[in-house]
Amino acid sequence: MTGEKKKMNVISFDRSKKIPDAARVAEFAATARKLLRERSAGDVVARMLKETPREEWAALAEREEIRNSGALERLSRDISSSLEKEPTDALAMSALATTIAETLPADDYPPIVTAQMRAHAWKDRAQALSYVGRDQEALEAIERAETLLQPFAAVGHDRAIVRLVKAIVLQHLKEWDASLAELKYCRQVFIEHHDDKRVLHCGLCEGLLLHRRGEYRKAHDVLESLLEVAQSDTNTLAAVHNNLALSLLELGDYTAANIHFSEAARHLNDAGRKIEAARAEMNTGLLFLRKGKPQHAMPHLTTAFNVFEHAQMPEEIGMCGALMMEANLARGYDDRARSVAAQVARQLENTRVSRQALEAITYAQNAIEAHDDAIAAVRHVHQYFQALLTDPAREFAVAR
């Protein structure tokens, strides 16, 4: 290339030519000041939620002290952390957040910041809806978020965050190709923004998608390539190990699967995420059961059961207890299965699910006693407790 041509391709840069306009600097400084000041509203909203019954959270949207960015940021964090343990809380918080965001006066913040706040509230709503299986409504929430961001060119990163959630919802709806296309778009935007953490999340989602589509070898290869880059992020590393283990299990490599499951649980425990670690243990137990390895399932299920018992999580106690009954029945230990049923019944007394729970457990106990396809009965009970997570008012009905 000649010197002249080389010169043509170099961007000339002269700082003096682009001094920011004083009015814009002032607007930016005022917005920064306002957002910083409002951060304290995060504690206010947390306190209000604690002191108010969940059924009345919607009315909090009228309280002036939480109608701001700080409260919305805190709600977003709390929704994210409640998704696993209390999805119904997450759902109620997300409804509160969208109401606050949508009714904020248009001139409180610069238009692009208002759009950003509203879009993120809808994105959180979509996540919460998706967690309780309301995927079509989740897609509608995503659509609202995308519409809010549409007029602005400078919200590419926010747009990709919204579309990452869309990719996950599309996976739940088994729209594999559409989900992959979204992931591809998001990964490109996150790479461009040097957002390594979300690039990693895109990889995780792709691995999960391939796994769900039954392409276990491909899923394994995608996930394995993430192990090294995920080292700096304990939570993501745990998720990579967990999903790798799931793929290995399908590929029949039980030893390697067990190692990765243990790593996942270790990292979650290290990160203080005991509940998620227990959930991972329970899933491990379930998968070993389904693979006809009940002897490998029991240690995982027992560990998980103890955590759920300690955390007083009735639905999970019921689910895990039913799996423990199944593991014992599969090994011919009917007495132990009965003893687990009695233990679960004791644990669930006086909890929010006690009446239905006792009906379900009694049904399992009777089936074990009568040797009447007891495994099918305890599986039905497991499904019932699982359904209670998303439908707390569900009544127990015997299997037909």
């Binding site: 391709n9 002269d14 030519k17 814009r24 400084a29 400078a154 990163h157 923004h193």
Partner: protein, 168 residues
């Protein structure tokens, strides 16, 4: 010790010129619009400042993305002079380039290509991206982007020829 607000303002004043220059010179966004884009990038940064590890990288990525989106929202009217070197067609592909727009059937040939080739040719010939934009999109140098386009065109030609033979 400076306050958080002062820190934000310092970041704005330090990086604003760079962002506006990138929008103007790299993407040829008009001056006033470029400054608006840079300003809006900073506004969106405020609510996520705690989660950004590489500030400069994030800001540059954001302005590049915003500039491209600006053109998608406002329609393209780009002076392609700067792209001239890269837009010169590989002589071996000249015949296909001349005939491609006229031959809708070429779309069928495109469908037989790899997804990457399909995307490259779609961006170049159906969406009118410049070679610089394609290079940015795929994270390669413009010269390599030019090679990719030529290679995909040759494959399209082979596919097109094969389809013609099968149909005749």
């Amino acid at each position: 010790m400076i306050s958080a607000e002062e820190r934000f303002t310092a970041i704005y004043e330090q990086h604003f010129p760079l962002l506006a220059q990138i929008a103007v010179h790299k993407f040829r966004v008009p001056d006033t619009e470029a400054e608006t884009l840079a300003h809006e990038v900073f506004l969106t940064y405020l609510r996520k400042s705690d989660t950004i590890n590489d500030l400069r990288g994030w800001l540059i990525g954001a302005i590049c993305h915003a500039s491209r989106h600006y053109w998608r929202l406002n329609g393209r009217n780009v002076n392609v002079e700067e792209d001239f070197d890269f837009d010169r067609v590989d002589p071996s592909s000249m015949r296909i380039v001349d005939s491609l727009p006229a031959q809708i059937a070429a779309r069928e040939a495109l469908e037989c290509l790899s997804p990457r080739c399909q995307e490259i040719l779609r961006l170049r010939y159906f969406e009118g991206w410049t070679m610089h934009e394609i290079a940015d999109h795929f994270g390669v140098k413009p010269k390599y982007a030019q090679k990719l386009v030529s290679k995909c065109l040759r494959r399209a030609e082979a596919m097109y020829g094969a389809k013609g033979k099968n149909e005749s």
